[in-house]
């Protein structure tokens, strides 16, 4: 019997793939990291003002390197203005949004052991968006928008899990997703109510913001997303071994000595913080947190030690690519949230059909 299984070419191929992933899987995040940095520099070359890759790299290197800028720089004032004020803030904002969404989606899916989960599915995006529009209605400063968006995201998340717990479903159930859909719908209704209450000056900016856009990126917005995303993302990275245990199921995790409840709430808080900061600066960019973890899983398998960084970097590449596409090919400021939804839906359908649960098998 065992010999028959071993002789099966599909199983043999899967074993080879697993062995390859174990040996070289660490290189994929590294390659993706290099890819993200190259993509950041390449994105700096897209725009009306002509800019070569070498010149963009030179300017960024000098800007990022600690110490004063050279007295006689090899660039013009126009070139550094274009990079430092216009393109770099936007490119960083896009990269950080993608990074945060990729990591958040993967952490949520791992924690809930459910591939259909994403920040927008469990209601955290809607909750954060509600907090954001409420802050805009009350004319809060940008920090207030992030704060309320975070509170909204946490509240939505708590509602979702509270509702799932009420139905005695725990986290390993379709009930959690249903609860997320209900909570999300409720917060969307609240957003509509706020839009109704907003005045003529507030409404257009609210609507455009909710579509998910990176227009108007500046250093302040980058700081607003960079600190929670890089900080929260780093903390999630340190929890990726525990995420592996958590994805085995609550009972197994508990038997291995983990405080499941504390860990789960810690992950939820970090995910809420990251998603809230993303929503606060660029509106709701849906589907990234759902699609990217699937793609990452196909690349490096379900081990969160590799999956989490891979998903983050892949998310950054995905959103950066879409933003570059809108700017360079479509030549218009189409909200990225619209494009991620347009692309995300067929990609998820394709992945579901193609993978048929691979990577999520209980084996």
């Amino acid at each position: 019997m065992t010999e028959a299984i071993m002789a099966d070419p599909a199983i043999s191929q899967a074993k080879t793939k697993t062995a390859w992933t174990l040996e070289y899987g660490w290189a994929i995040p590294l390659l993706l990291g290099v890819g993200v940095l190259v993509a950041i520099l390449a994105s700096l070359c897209i725009g009306a003002y002509p800019m070569s890759f070498a010149q963009a790299a030179r300017i960024v290197m000098h800007l990022a390197w600690p110490g004063p800028l050279p007295a006689n720089p090899p660039w013009t004032v126009k070139e550094i203005t274009v990079v430092q004020i216009i393109r770099l803030p936007r490119v960083l904002l896009v990269t950080l949004a993608g990074l945060g969404l990729g990591i958040s989606g993967t952490a949520l899916q791992g924690m809930m052991r459910n591939p259909l989960v994403g920040p927008d599915i469990v209601g955290v995006s809607s909750g954060a968006a509600f907090g954001g529009v409420l802050a805009m209605l009350w004319d809060f400063p940008p920090v207030g928008i992030v704060g309320l968006a975070f509170c909204g995201g946490m509240l939505a998340m708590a509602c979702t899990f509270g509702l799932a717990k009420l139905s005695h479903a725990g986290t390993d159930s379709m009930i959690t997703i249903l609860a997320g859909v209900f909570v999300g719908a409720f917060f969307l209704a609240l957003i509509d109510l706020i839009k109704h209450l907003a005045n003529d000056a507030q409404l257009p900016s609210m609507v455009f913001w909710l579509l998910g856009t990176f227009v108007g990126a500046d250093a302040r917005k980058v700081a607003m997303i960079a600190i929670p995303t890089l900080g929260g993302g780093a903390l999630l990275m340190t929890l990726r071994w525990r995420l592996n245990l958590l994805s085995l199921g609550d009972l197994d995790a508990k038997s291995l000595g983990m405080n499941v409840s504390v860990l789960r709430w810690a992950i939820l808080a970090l995910v809420s913080l990251i998603v809230a900061s993303q929503v606060a600066v660029s509106g709701v960019v849906g589907w990234v947190g759902l699609v990217v973890p699937h793609c990452a899983r196909m690349l490096v398998g379900p081990d969160h030690r590799r999956l989490l960084p891979t998903a983050g970097l892949l998310g950054a590449l995905f959103v950066l690519g879409l933003d570059d596409f809108t700017r360079a090919v479509m030549k218009a400021e189409i909200p990225v949230g619209v494009l991620t939804a347009l692309i995300g839906t067929p990609v998820v359908c394709f992945l579901l059909w193609k993978s048929q649960g691979k990577g999520w098998g209980r084996e």
Binding site: L37, A48, I85, R87, L308, K331
Partner: protein, 408 residues
């Protein structure tokens, strides 16, 4: 072996640190453009001092600066190096300025056909403008504060002319009102009816004209044009004699400074009393004698069953007012013509039909361009107003016919 694996597990830190370092680089002081070697200095509408590089490399129209407005106030198409996005080009194509200056509309180099041609982001707009490298940018929507902070020559045509006055510079709004007698009803208007100082169109037309003339280095061109404008307004007041009018039709008109309506011998129904809301019932309560539409055709409006009870509909006194949104959205040339058009509709017994001739003369004197009869029809919406009472006086050959009638 374990150490080797441990090192691999920390590789995720590399992109995190790189991105963090690049993000921190944004905290560096902003770059600053040096002053040009040779320049002349002008002060814009907001009291900001702008250094315009010499030799003059041209004007670029930044966010929300309408090419038609620039052309009308400066009459200098040759100084333009950048006129705007495709949407701005589309707007100009519908405007009478495209008849007068077709070279601006047809020159692809003046329009953004490159990357971000459809962008609405002011940041992408700045980048586009940097690529065109003009001596000065005009930003009527208020150029981003950022542009000024980096020392770029952004000329704001809006802002606060009072600030200029405090700087000891000439008053941009002088001659506003053109000597029109004060509106006796003004003290009875509901609170908030008159929007700040925007009572007469001159409130924004004259500063715009004066600033544009300063910008192109010919401030002396503004006053004769302002005087010609005021003369037409004053002539109309003399001919109409509004103070002696016994009947003033109650009218509904939107999109015009409030002072235009009493100047034309009419009463704005909105000024009579405060009715909250902006629904259809409001118009039924106000029930004006005449309605001036900004878009759509009077015939369609009159066919709508909701409006059948209105006096204006029953008497066919619904009009498509000229000069709004298309053909002539700007004003220095056209506002006096619009004023006459309104006055002739309201008081045909006091005024000779002269709108077509006045429009033709204004365009000829301002731009040396002769409008064709078809173009005048388009500006005055003659076709749309064909069924409206009194609008026949704006049709071609009307004057001849009436003279024949009177001779009979």
């Amino acid at each position: 072996m374990i150490r080797k694996h441990h090192g691999r597990e920390l590789l995720w830190l590399v992109p995190f640190i790189c991105i963090a370092l690049i993000a921190v680089s944004l905290l560096r002081p902003l770059p600053r453009f040096p002053l040009p070697e040779h320049y002349r200095t002008v002060v814009d509408g907001g009291g900001n001092t702008i250094h315009i590089a010499l030799p003059f490399r041209g004007v670029a129209l930044a966010t929300n600066s309408f090419p038609s407005g620039y052309l009308e106030t400066t009459r200098s198409p040759q100084l333009l190096v950048y006129a705007g996005k495709p949407s701005d080009r589309g707007m100009l194509a519908k405007n009478a300025m495209s008849w007068i200056y077709p070279e601006v509309l047809n020159d692809d180099n003046l329009w953004n056909t490159r990357l971000f041609k459809n962008t609405s982001s002011p940041f992408s707009e700045i980048e586009t403008l940097l690529a065109y490298d003009p001596s000065v940018w005009i930003g009527c929507g208020g150029p981003p504060d950022l542009v000024r902070r980096v020392g770029l020559p952004a000329f704001g045509c809006g802002g606060s002319p009072a600030l200029r006055q405090r700087m000891g510079l000439p008053n941009l709004r002088s001659k506003e009102g053109c000597g029109t007698p004060p509106d006796p009803m003004r003290s009875h208007y509901p609170k908030g009816y008159v929007n700040g100082g925007w009572y007469f169109p001159e409130n924004y037309l004259f500063p715009g004209l004066r600033l544009s003339s300063e910008l192109i280095g010919h401030p002396e061109l503004a006053e004769p044009r302002i005087d010609a404008y005021c003369k037409i307004v004053a002539d109309l007041q003399q001919e109409l004699r509004p103070s002696s009018l016994t009947y003033r039709p109650r009218v509904q008109m939107v999109g015009e400074p409030k002072g235009t309506v009493p100047r034309a011998g009419m009463v704005d129904v909105e000024a009579e009393r405060e009715i909250p809301g902006d629904d259809a019932e409001r118009l039924l309560i106000l029930d004006p004698d005449m309605i001036f539409l900004v878009v759509g055709s009077p015939q369609e409006f009159e066919r709508d069953s909701s409006w059948q009870a209105l006096k204006a509909v029953q008497k066919h006194q619904v009009y498509r007012r000229p000069g709004q949104l298309e053909w002539w959205a700007t004003g220095v040339t056209f506002k006096p013509v619009l004023l006459r058009w309104l006055a002739e509709i309201a008081h045909p017994e006091r005024l000779q039909p002269n709108v077509r001739q006045l429009l033709r003369d204004r365009v000829m004197s301002e731009f040396g361009y002769r409008l064709s009869e078809e173009q005048i029809d388009l500006v005055l919406h003659v076709k749309e107003n064909a069924g409206s009472v009194g609008a026949e006086r704006f049709t071609r050959g009307y004057q001849t016919t009436s003279e024949q009638r009177s001779s009979k």
